[in-house]
Structures are given as structure tokens and as C-alpha cells.
């Protein structure tokens, strides 16, 4: 018989718990403590008080506010667009037979490509240099619009490139997950619907969507979390000085506070990280509440 509090069980769990404790739990607690230590001095490892001063600094820092704005715009646009597009493509992929595997490979390529290499490609597509306006501008030119500098130009253009890039990068994983979810829907439901004369669009909204709703929900949650944590994509496109480019993200801000040219402020970085954590927590809770009505397990 199994014992509930078998000491052997705890022994088996010990290695994993040890590593989790050292590398996950302890740093989390440490960040939390750091965020309340005021006037922390890196060199002497000392601080002069405990309070909310780090938070009030961060929340008033225009760079942080810019980063929050950028991150929210990124999240609000890329999560619905990438999930929706991935769903469309997956449904398309599931309904073709002939060259399905070829398409699947093509759509999956961005997933296995290095972020910085992709960033380089996007630079070529969008960057304006003295010699060329970039491929994107060439296409815009056909429609009679003037060239736009997507990398060093106006804010909306840079934001567009960042969103475009993010959508493109996160899609393969979503397509992979969604095609397998679609494939797991029992053929019988579609046959039953067919016998009952259900229109295609209704089959999709009344049968397919509810059936794969747990998967969609999973993708939305992880999509939100992933987009809130965005950083390397912005670096790949706009270089390391994101504050100057007005393209910083919250995680970028945290990094800058730690190691950037303005760095050396672990307390501010910690406070920003905790704020990010609270934002993600709130959004995820809202997601969970909404999902209760629309997700069918």
C-alpha cells in the first residue's frame, strides 16, 4: 500500500526540489526583496532603507512608461492577430491533402531560425539606406506611397515592423499546435454534421472551435505571457539602444537597469520586474475568468 507521507518519496523529489529552490524560488524571493531596498549600492552591497521608493521611481521614469506602452501595443496587436492567422492557416492546412507536408515545413521554418538571423533579414526588408529603400518600400512605392524609414523612422512604422516580426516569429508554433488539435477532432462529428446538412461555417463555429477551444485558450495565455516578455526581437531589429529608438519593452528596461549603459540599478530592475509580474498575473487571471464561459474541456 502507498503511504501518503513516505519519507522515500521526499528523498526522490529532493534533487529536483534542490535545483528549483536554488535557481527558481530563491531568486524570485530575492528579486522581491531587492525591489523594496532603497538606495542600493552595488559596490558596497548596502542600502539605506526599505520602502516603495524604487517603485515610485520606476513608475515615473519616462523610459519605463514608454516601455509599458510599447509592450501593451505589442501584446494587444500580436496575440489576437497571430492566433487568428495561425487558426486560419491551420484550418487551411487541414483541408488540403496534396502538398500539406511541404506547406507545414515552410510554415515551421521561422521556428527553427535564429532570432538574430531573422532580424537581419527584416533589416534588409525594411531598412532604408543611401543605396536602397528596402523591399517593403519598393512594394509601397507601387501603390504610389512615399518611402518610409521603418527602422529609424516614425514611431508607428517601427512599431509596425516589431509587431509584424513578432507575429511572424510566433506563428509556426501556434500552427503546429493547432494543426494537431484539429487533427484530433473525431471525424465522426463532421460526418454527423454533414448528414444533418450543417453549413461549413456553422461546422467551424459550432463544432470545430468549441472542440479545440482548450488549445486556443492555451495559445492565448502563453501568447500573452510571451509577448509581455518580448525583448530579443526588438534588439534584433533596432539594436541594443532601445530607449533611444523609443522601442524598449519592459524586459528590455529591466535588462538596461541591470547591465545597460545606464545600468547598475538592481533595485529599479527588480521593481520593474515585479510590476511586469503583477501585470501578467492580472491578465492571466482575467483570461482564466473569461475562459470559464467559452472553453469546453
Amino acid at each position: 500500500m502507498m503511504e501518503r507521507n513516505n519519507p522515500k518519496g521526499w528523498l526522490y523529489l529532493l534533487p529536483a526540489m534542490l535545483f528549483l529552490g536554488v535557481f527558481m524560488v530563491y531568486p524570485l524571493i530575492d528579486v522581491f526583496i531587492y525591489s523594496f531596498e532603497q538606495g542600493f549600492n552595488f559596490a558596497s552591497q548596502s542600502y539605506d532603507g526599505v520602502g516603495m521608493r524604487n517603485y515610485s521611481f520606476v513608475l515615473r521614469d519616462p523610459y519605463f512608461l514608454q516601455a509599458v506602452k510599447n509592450t501593451f501595443i505589442l501584446v494587444i496587436f500580436t496575440v489576437p492577430i497571430s492566433t487568428g492567422l495561425a487558426l486560419l492557416i491551420s484550418v487551411g492546412l487541414s483541408s488540403i491533402k496534396a502538398v500539406r507536408h511541404l506547406y507545414q515545413t515552410l510554415y515551421f521554418l521561422p521556428y527553427v531560425t535564429n532570432t538574430l538571423a531573422v532580424g537581419l533579414v527584416f533589416m534588409i526588408l525594411f531598412k532604408k539606406t543611401p543605396y536602397t529603400d528596402g523591399l517593403a518600400n519598393l512594394i509601397i512605392g507601387w501603390f504610389g506611397a512615399g518611402p518610409v524609414d521603418f527602422i529609424d523612422g516614425p514611431y508607428w512604422a517601427k512599431m509596425f515592423v516589431l509587431c509584424f516580426y513578432t507575429v511572424w516569429v510566433v506563428m509556426p508554433f501556434k500552427i503546429l499546435i493547432l494543426t494537431s488539435a484539429l487533427a484530433s477532432v473525431d471525424e465522426g462529428y463532421y460526418k454527423a454534421a454533414q448528414v444533418d446538412g450543417t453549413r461549413k461555417i456553422r461546422v467551424f463555429t459550432r463544432i470545430t472551435l468549441p472542440m479545440i477551444s482548450p488549445t486556443i485558450f492555451y495559445l492565448i495565455i502563453t501568447g500573452f505571457i510571451g509577448a509581455f516578455k518580448a525583448y530579443s526581437d526588438a534588439v534584433a531589429l533596432f539594436g541594443t539602444d532601445l530607449n533611444a529608438a523609443e522601442m524598449n519593452t519592459i524586459v528590455g528596461y529591466v535588462y538596461d537597469m541591470l547591465y545597460g549603459s545606464s545600468g547598475g540599478y538592481p533595485s529599479y530592475a527588480s521593481a520593474a520586474a515585479i510590476i511586469l509580474f503583477l501585470i501578467v498575473l492580472t491578465i492571466t487571471c482575467i483570461n482564466l475568468l473569461i475562459s470559464k464561459k467559452h472553453v469546453h474541456y
Partner: protein
């Protein structure tokens, strides 16, 4: 709705490593199903019975041949316009919809002038639920129901649009033995109540025999015999049908006709006037044996099983196909303890003779019942 099959054939072609492989699932099906009957399509797995069913539903399109509902040629009519109700083997109830929503689903699909108001949908769905006696479960989800209840929901969903034909694919295979007995009576009751022409597929001969008006016995895509269950059992058209129907199965012997008498091995069992001399298969139903010390069929006794109502005797015979024969005798039939040999006389109407070559049934002139 009368259903007519005219030389209906379905060939599946599959490309495997460049080679085309064809399987004839349904082979020149020609028969007529009268209006309002309950028909059992019966055969071993892989005999094409499900394919035949879905040729009616329209989920498969025939390779050749025609299919008619009444006088209407349905061969090229798409599934959704055929007005058939189908109960799938795994029921295919939508798990995210309640029982009532599941039943209403087909009605919600109606378009144009066929469209009915939500209230009427609800009342028609309720009526269907009542018919299959699940009206008190209407707000539950399918997974909260037992197998038998799910089956009823599936039947209600198939019936709610008032189909011209009701098709059931292995309707009882997912139920346990007790529920199966109960549900097959239920299917019979619902079918008689609604009068809808119903075709169901099964590999279980007992199931088919017990509730069908007529059974269609199939093998390798071909119809072997069609008729009332008892008639098919009493007059199997060929050796396959004889072997497929009946539990325990029929006992098959190598026999011959010589000089108007039927021989099983060397045993001269009875007169079979009207048959020419030839080699034959002889099938004897387990209930066709009579314990008789003077009986012509001399078998080596193997074992005895008491089964309450009757006793079952296992015995061997040189001309027997298979290991042993099984004879069902009335309880109280005395077998001497330690007997090495047991003799039987036979009930001629339980003995079926088939041509050795073609396996087709041979009939002799009945009446001369002599041993």
C-alpha cells in the same frame, strides 16, 4: 420509404507504394427494402455492411449502380439533401452541447422556408427526447450520461428532423450485455412507433435475428440471403449463411448422396430422394440431434455439459469438419456413464445439405422421413 438498390457497387482504390489496390466493398447489390420495415444488415467484420449503410446515407458514393428512395433516384443526391438520420457507432454526440442542444442541432441547420422558430425547435426536440424516454435529462452533457442514454440521445437526434430513412451503424456494440437486450427492444419499439424505414448494421446475429423484420446476410460485399430471420435460419441458402447464423454454430460434416440416400462418412443417415449422387456438405443444427441407441449417426463420446434447461453433448465423428460436434439435448436425456460411443438419429428439418463445389443449398423431397 421504400428503398431500392440496383446493382450497387462500391470499389475502394488505395495507392500503396505506387501500386493501386482495389477492394470491392459492396458487390452488385440488388434488393428492395419495403416501407416501414426494420432491416438488419448482418455479416462478419469487413463484409461491407457499413459501406452499404453509408451508400444509403450518402457519405459514400457508389462506383456504379443506382439507389432509389421510393421512385426518386438518390444516387447523385448529396448527403445533406437525402433526409436520412444516422446513428453512428460511437454516437458522435457533440460533447460541448447539452442533450437538448444536441437534439436541436439538425433543426438549427434548416434553411430558407424550412426554417422553424426556436420555440418549435425546442418543442420538437422535446418530443423526440420523450419518444426515446430521456426527456428528464435534457440539460445534461453527453459525458454525464450512461452509454445507453447516449445511444438514445443519438437516436433522438437522428429522428428529430423526421428522416425518410433511419440508419444505425452497430447501434449496440458499445453497450454491455444487459443494456444491449434492453436497448434492442427499445429500438424495435421506437421503430414501430414512428414507422420510419430503419436499417441497422450488426455483426451479432442474435441481435439481428431478434428485432429485424428482415435480415440481409452479407459476405465479402455480396448479399448471401435476404429474408425473415426465422426463414433464413431454417432455410440457409448456402453453407456460409448456415455457419454464420445460430449459436452454438451448426455442425458441418463431409457427406455424400448415394442412391437417393444421405451418407455422413460411412453412416447411412436417411433417405434423400430427388438428389443425384454427389459429394456434399451436411450441416446439422445442434438441436437437430436425437439420442437414440439405434441411431444411424455413430459418434465417439467426448464430454457432457449440463446447462440447466438442456444438456450439451460434445462428440467426435470421422467425417466432421472441426474438432467436435455439439448436440443440444433435453435435460434428462440419459447418457450411460463411461460410454465411448454415442448414437444419434436426426431431425431432417434441422439437417441442411449443400453442394460440395458451389456450397449452395440442395433440397430433397421431404415427406419420406425414413431413417
Amino acid at each position: 420509404m421504400r428503398i431500392l438498390f440496383d446493382e450497387l457497387t462500391k470499389v475502394f482504390t488505395d495507392k500503396k507504394r505506387g501500386k493501386k489496390e482495389s477492394v470491392v466493398a459492396v458487390d452488385h447489390f440488388s434488393f428492395e427494402i419495403p416501407d416501414g420495415q426494420l432491416i438488419g444488415l448482418l455479416g462478419p467484420s469487413g463484409c461491407g455492411k457499413s459501406t452499404a449503410l453509408h451508400l444509403i446515407s450518402g457519405l459514400h458514393t457508389p462506383t456504379s449502380g443506382r439507389i432509389y428512395f421510393g421512385d426518386e433516384d438518390m444516387t447523385d443526391v448529396p448527403v445533406e439533401k437525402r433526409e436520412v438520420g444516422v446513428v453512428f457507432q460511437n454516437y458522435a454526440l457533440y460533447p460541448h452541447l447539452s442533450v437538448l442542444e444536441n437534439i436541436m442541432f439538425p433543426l438549427d441547420n434548416l434553411e430558407g422556408n424550412k426554417r422553424i422558430s426556436p420555440n418549435e425547435m425546442r418543442s420538437r426536440a422535446r418530443a423526440a427526447a420523450k419518444l426515446v424516454q430521456i426527456d428528464e435529462l435534457e440539460s445534461r452533457r453527453p459525458k454525464e450520461l450512461s452509454g445507453g442514454q447516449q445511444q438514445r440521445v443519438a437516436i433522438a437526434r437522428a429522428l428529430v428532423k423526421q428522416p425518410r430513412v433511419l440508419l444505425l451503424d452497430e447501434p449496440l456494440s458499445n453497450l454491455d450485455a444487459r443494456l444491449r437486450l434492453q436497448t434492442r427492444e427499445e429500438i424495435r419499439r421506437i421503430q414501430k412507433g414512428t414507422g420510419v424505414t430503419t436499417i441497422f448494421v450488426t455483426h451479432d446475429q442474435e441481435e439481428a435475428m431478434s428485432i429485424s423484420d428482415q435480415i440481409v446476410v452479407m459476405q465479402s460485399g455480396r448479399v448471401q440471403q435476404i429474408g425473415k430471420p426465422q426463414w433464413v435460419y431454417d432455410f440457409p441458402a448456402n453453407l456460409f449463411v448456415a455457419k454464420f447464423l445460430g449459436t452454438p454454430p451448426i455442425n458441418v460434416f463431409r457427406g455424400s448422396i448415394r442412391g437417393g440416400r444421405l451418407f455422413i462418412g460411412k453412416d447411412d443417415v436417411f433417405a434423400a430422394p430427388g438428389l443425384s449422387d454427389q459429394e456434399v456438405w451436411v450441416g446439422i443444427r445442434p438441436e437437430g440431434f436425437i439420442l437414440d441407441e439405434q441411431g444411424p449417426l455413430r459418434c465417439t463420446f467426448q464430454s457432457l455439459e449440463m446447462m440447466g434447461r438442456d444438456i450439451s453433448v460434445m462428440a467426435g465423428h470421422v467425417a466432421l469438419e472441426g474438432e467436435r460436434l455439439q448436440a443440444l439435448l433435453e435435460a434428462g436425456s440419459g447418457i450411460p456413464a463411461g460410454a465411448a460411443q454415442v448414437n444419434f438419429s436426426l431431425k431432417p428439418d434441422k439437417v441442411h445439405v449443400f453442394s460440395r463445389d458451389t456450397q449452395v443449398r440442395l433440397d430433397w423431397q421431404k415427406g419420406g422421413m425414413g431413417k
